[in-house]
C-alpha cells in the first residue's frame, strides 16, 4: 500500500486530543477493568456452580484394620465422593473398596424394619414388638437357666461405644461373661501373644515405621490385597531406598509375594519351624543382640523362667538342616533370611491371619516378637513387630474394651479378683457383680448353643453363619437358640437362622470411634440418617438394657457420653487415653494411645522413653506391663497341625480375603463394581496339581474335608503353590467354611482357618 497526494494537514491531528476524548478513554479503561472483574466473577460463579462437592467431611473408612482416613464429599445431603485424606496417617492412599464408599450409602437390600420370624418366615414388626420379644426371651432364659444361658456375640466392626456398652450390660448388668465376637476369629492369638510377651496388648509400633524399615518381614500376610495402603507405603519405602529388602513368608505366591524380594513358600501349618530355625541361626551365628537381651529380656520355657543358654539349647532341635524338608524352605534360605532380619538397620515384621488363625497362633505371635527381642530390632523407627489387624475396630472396640469372654476393660481379666473389683468400682456396681467364670469364646459359644446351654444370643454386626469354621454345624446350632441378629443388610447366612432381625445403621449413619491397628482412635461423624426404621447398635443396646431392667446401669446413652465414660475408665490403667476427647478427635486425624491428657500428642511407639508417657526417664525401653519391666521370650515347641495331609486328604486348604471384597461380602458384594471385579469365588488350584487330578480351568470341582464338602468352579493359578488350595470366603454361594476345620489355639481359642486337609476332585456339575 502506498499513499499519493494526501494533504497531511487533513490527517495530522495528533495535537488535537480533546479532554473529552481523554475522559472517554479513561472511562472505557475503567469499563474494561469492570469487564475484567466481571469476567473473573463469572469464572468464580461457574467454578462454584460446577463443584461436584458442596462440603468435605473428615471420616474413616468402613472396611479393614488399616483404618484409613477419608474425606467424604457431600452434595444435597448425599455422598458424592470419597477421597483418601492426605493429612491422615495413610497419606491420602485408600483402596478400591474405600473408593467405592459412596456406593455403600445406598447398597440394595438394606434392612429398614425389625423382623420377627413367624411360621418360618421373617415378617416386619415394630420396634416395640421386636424388642419386647427379645427382652422377654432373654429375661425368661436368665430367670430359668441363669445369666450364663444368654450371650452376646459382637464384632470388630461395631463402634467402640457400642462394644463397650454391650460389654458393660452383659458383664455388669446381666452378670454373664458370655461376651465374645468375631475378633476371636482373627485377632485373639495376636492379643494373647502380645500380652504374654509384653504384659500388655496391642502393637508397640506404628504404620510410620514402614517409612524407616530396611527389612520387611511379611509373615502370613498379604497386605497387597488385604491392607493395600500399608503395602503401598512399603513399596514407597523401597522406591526411595531400593536396597530395602522385602521378605514374604506365605504358602501362596500372592501379589505381595510377587512384589517381594524373597518369597518363602512354607508348607501350611509348619511355619513355627521357620521362626524357631531363624532364632537358631541368630543364636548360633552370633547375630543376637546381647546388650538388648541383658537389659530388656527374660526367658521362659512356658512354665518357669530360664536363661539364654537354655533358649539356645532348645533351638538346637530347629537347626535349618533339620527342618527344611518339613518346612518346604531350604536351609540356605533360612540362614539368609535370619541374617537379613538380624543385621538390617531396622526390621519391621508384619503379620496377620496366616499367623493368628492357627492352633499355634499364640506361639507364632510369641516367636515373631521374640525374634525382634533377641536381635534388638525394637523401639527404633522401622524396628518393630507389627501385628496387622483385619477389622476396623477389633483393637479399639473389642480388645481394648475387654469385650471378650475372658477379659475386662483395659487389659483386665475376669479371673483376677482385683481386676473384677476395680471394674465394679469403676462401673459403680456392687462388689461381686462380675462373674469370675470365663465366658464362652466364639467356637465354644456356638457349641454351647448346639448343646442347649445357651438359650438366647444377640449377634451384632457380624455374620457367623458364614465365618465360623465347620459352619454347617453351627448354622444348625443357631436353630436351637433364640437368635437375635442386628445387621445393616438383609438375608445374610446368619439371619436365615434368626428369630428376630433388627435393622442397624451403617457407617456414617451413626457416630462413634474406631481404633485401628496402630492404636489410633479416630472418629466417624454422623452425616446421614439411616434408612427406614434402622437404628444405631448403641440405641438398640440402650433399649435392651432398659427393657431388661438395667437402665440405671447404662447411664451414658449417646456416643459422646459413652466415650467420655470410657476414656475416664481408662485413666487408671496403662491403656490410658483420657486425653482423647471427642473435641480433639473432631479436629485431629485420630490420636494414638496412651494419651493421658488433652495436651499429650499421643504415642507413636509404645514402651519407648520419650514417646510412651509411662516409661520412666533414663529407662530407654521399659516393658512396664511385666513386673520386672522386661519382655519375655518363650521357648515354643512346634506342634504339627492335627490337619495333616493323608492319602484321603492330600492337599491343604487355606482361606483368606481378596482385594475387592471385605469379609463375607455382605457389604462389598452389593457394590456392583466390586462384585464384578471379584466375580464368584473360585477354587484356586495349582496347575500341576490340576494336571494330576485331571482338572481344567473352570471345571466344576468338589473340595472335601472330614468336616464338609463344597462345590465350585476351579481356577488354575500358580498363585497357589503345589499342594495348596485357596478359596476366599466372601461368597456365600461357595461357603468354604463348611469345609474348614474348627480346631483352635488352646490359649487364644482362635480357630485354625488356615490349615485344613482336603481332597479335590472334578465333578460332573
Amino acid at each position: 500500500m502506498h499513499e499519493e497526494n494526501i494533504d497531511p494537514k487533513d490527517c495530522s491531528d495528533a495535537s488535537d486530543i480533546t479532554r473529552r476524548e481523554v475522559l472517554i478513554t479513561l472511562g472505557v479503561l475503567c469499563g474494561a477493568v469492570g469487564a475484567g472483574a466481571a469476567g473473573w466473577g463469572f469464572l468464580e460463579e461457574i467454578v462454584a456452580l460446577r463443584q461436584p462437592v458442596q462440603s468435605w467431611h473428615k471420616s474413616v473408612c468402613r472396611f479393614c484394620g488399616t483404618g484409613c482416613g477419608v474425606l467424604v464429599g457431600m452434595k444435597d445431603g448425599r455422598v458424592v465422593d470419597v477421597r483418601g485424606d492426605e493429612l491422615a496417617h495413610n497419606k491420602g492412599v485408600i483402596c478400591i473398596k474405600g473408593s467405592m464408599l459412596p456406593e455403600l450409602t445406598h447398597i440394595p437390600g438394606r434392612l429398614t424394619s425389625p423382623k420377627i420370624r413367624k411360621n418360618g418366615a421373617l415378617v416386619n414388626a415394630s420396634w416395640d414388638d421386636a424388642m419386647g420379644l427379645v427382652a422377654s426371651k432373654f429375661s425368661d432364659a436368665i430367670r430359668d437357666y441363669g445369666p450364663d444361658s444368654v450371650a452376646f456375640y459382637g464384632s470388630g466392626q461395631l463402634f467402640t461405644e457400642e462394644s463397650y456398652t454391650a460389654n458393660k450390660l452383659f458383664k455388669a448388668g446381666i452378670r454373664t461373661n458370655n461376651v465374645d465376637g468375631n475378633p476371636r476369629l482373627c485377632m485373639a492369638s495376636a492379643a494373647s501373644g502380645y500380652v504374654q510377651t509384653y504384659g500388655k496388648d496391642e502393637p508397640p509400633g506404628c504404620y510410620a515405621d514402614a517409612d524407616y524399615a530396611d527389612c520387611f518381614f511379611l509373615f502370613g500376610a498379604n497386605p497387597y490385597e488385604c491392607h493395600p495402603p500399608i503395602f503401598e507405603r512399603i513399596r514407597q519405602r523401597k522406591r526411595l531406598h531400593p536396597e530395602t529388602v522385602i521378605i514374604c513368608v506365605d504358602p501362596r505366591r500372592t501379589m505381595t509375594a510377587q512384589h517381594s524380594d524373597i518369597h518363602l513358600p512354607v508348607v501350611p501349618g509348619t511355619d513355627l519351624l521357620l521362626l524357631n530355625s531363624m532364632a537358631n541361626v541368630i543364636c548360633e551365628e552370633g547375630l543376637e543382640n546381647q546388650q538388648f537381651i541383658q537389659r530388656y529380656v527374660r526367658f521362659n520355657d512356658g512354665e518357669k523362667d530360664c536363661d539364654f543358654a537354655r533358649f539356645r539349647e532348645f533351638l538346637k532341635g530347629y537347626a535349618p538342616e533339620k527342618v527344611e524338608e518339613e518346612l518346604g524352605v531350604s536351609a540356605r534360605d533360612i540362614r539368609r533370611v535370619a541374617f537379613l532380619f538380624a543385621r538390617s538397620e531396622a526390621t519391621m515384621s508384619l503379620w496377620t491371619m496366616g499367623v493368628n488363625q492357627r492352633i499355634q497362633g499364640t506361639f507364632l505371635n510369641n516367636m515373631l516378637n521374640s525374634l525382634h527381642l533377641i536381635t534388638g530390632q525394637f523401639g527404633r523407627p522401622g524396628a518393630t513387630p507389627f501385628s496387622l489387624t483385619g477389622q476396623p475396630n477389633a483393637c479399639g472396640g473389642v480388645r481394648d474394651t475387654g469385650a471378650l469372654a475372658h477379659t475386662l476393660p483395659n487389659g483386665r481379666l475376669v479371673t483376677n479378683p482385683e481386676h473384677r473389683e476395680e471394674m465394679e468400682k469403676l462401673w459403680k456396681v456392687p462388689a461381686g457383680t462380675i462373674s469370675p467364670r470365663v465366658g464362652f469364646d466364639a467356637v465354644s459359644l456356638f457349641r454351647a448353643i448346639e448343646q442347649g446351654s445357651v438359650k438366647a444370643v444377640l449377634i451384632m454386626c457380624t455374620n457367623p453363619g458364614t465365618t465360623l469354621p465347620s459352619v454347617a454345624r453351627y448354622q444348625a446350632a443357631m436353630e436351637k437358640c433364640f437368635t437375635v441378629v442386628a445387621d445393616a443388610v438383609e438375608d445374610s447366612e446368619t439371619q436365615r437362622h434368626a428369630q428376630v432381625v433388627l435393622p442397624a445403621a451403617l457407617w456414617i449413619e451413626k457416630e462413634g470411634v474406631t481404633g485401628q491397628g496402630e492404636r489410633r482412635y479416630q472418629l466417624t461423624e454422623k452425616l446421614l440418617d439411616p434408612p427406614g426404621l434402622a437404628r444405631s447398635d448403641l440405641q438398640i443396646l440402650v433399649d435392651l438394657a432398659d427393657r431388661l431392667g438395667h437402665g440405671s446401669l447404662i447411664t451414658a446413652r449417646s456416643p459422646d457420653a459413652v466415650w467420655d465414660e470410657w476414656r475416664n475408665v481408662s485413666a487408671g490403667s496403662f491403656y490410658n487415653f483420657q486425653g482423647i476427647t471427642y473435641a480433639r478427635l473432631k479436629t485431629q486425624r485420630g490420636l494414638q494411645w496412651p494419651c493421658p491428657s488433652t495436651e499429650h500428642p499421643g504415642t507413636a511407639r509404645r514402651f519407648v522413653e520419650g514417646e510412651d508417657p509411662f516409661v520412666a526417664k533414663g529407662a530407654g525401653i521399659e516393658f512396664y506391663g511385666n513386673h520386672d519391666k522386661k519382655a519375655i521370650v518363650y521357648l515354643r515347641p512346634y506342634v504339627a497341625s492335627p490337619e495333616k495331609t493323608s492319602a484321603e486328604y492330600p492337599m491343604y486348604l487355606t482361606t483368606g480375603r481378596i482385594l475387592e471384597q471385605f469379609h463375607t461380602g455382605t457389604l462389598t458384594d452389593r457394590i456392583q463394581e466390586l462384585h464384578d471385579a471379584a466375580g464368584p469365588a473360585k477354587i484356586q488350584i495349582n496347575p500341576q496339581d490340576a494336571f494330576v487330578l485331571g482338572i481344567q480351568d473352570k471345571d466344576p470341582v468338589e473340595v472335601k474335608s472330614q468336616y464338609g464338602t463344597v462345590r465350585g468352579e476351579a481356577r488354575l493359578t500358580d498363585v497357589s503353590c503345589r499342594g495348596v488350595v485357596f478359596v476366599s470366603f466372601y461368597d456365600s454361594r461357595l461357603l468354604i467354611n463348611r469345609v474348614v476345620a474348627d480346631n483352635y489355639d488352646p490359649a487364644s481359642k482362635e480357630p485354625e482357618f488356615k490349615v485344613t486337609a482336603v481332597s479335590v476332585r472334578k465333578v460332573s456339575t
Binding site: 491531528d13 486530543i17 476524548e21 472517554i24 478513554t25 472505557v28 479503561l29 469499563g31 474494561a32 477493568v33 469487564a35 475484567g36 472483574a37 469476567g39 473473573w40
Partner: protein
C-alpha cells in the same frame, strides 16, 4: 468529524499490553492481557462496529 478516536486509543493501549505479554510471559502480564487488554479490544471493536452499522443505515445500505 472524527469517528474513532477513543476506540483507537483504547485499542492502542490494549496492543501495548499485548505486546508486553508477548515479550515477557509472566503471570501478571498474562493477567493484564486476559482481563484488561481483551475487554478493551472488545469494547473498541463493539463501538467501532456500532458506528459502522449506523453509517450504513444512514446511507440506506442496511
Amino acid at each position: 468529524m472524527r469517528l474513532l478516536r477513543w476506540e483507537c486509543w483504547c485499542a492502542c493501549i490494549a496492543f501495548v499490553m499485548t505486546l508486553v505479554f508477548v515479550l515477557i510471559p509472566g503471570p501478571y502480564e498474562m493477567a493484564v492481557f486476559t482481563f484488561l487488554a481483551q475487554p478493551l479490544f472488545a469494547i473498541a471493536a463493539v463501538s467501532y462496529l456500532s458506528k459502522v452499522l449506523a453509517d450504513l443505515r444512514n446511507r440506506g445500505v442496511v
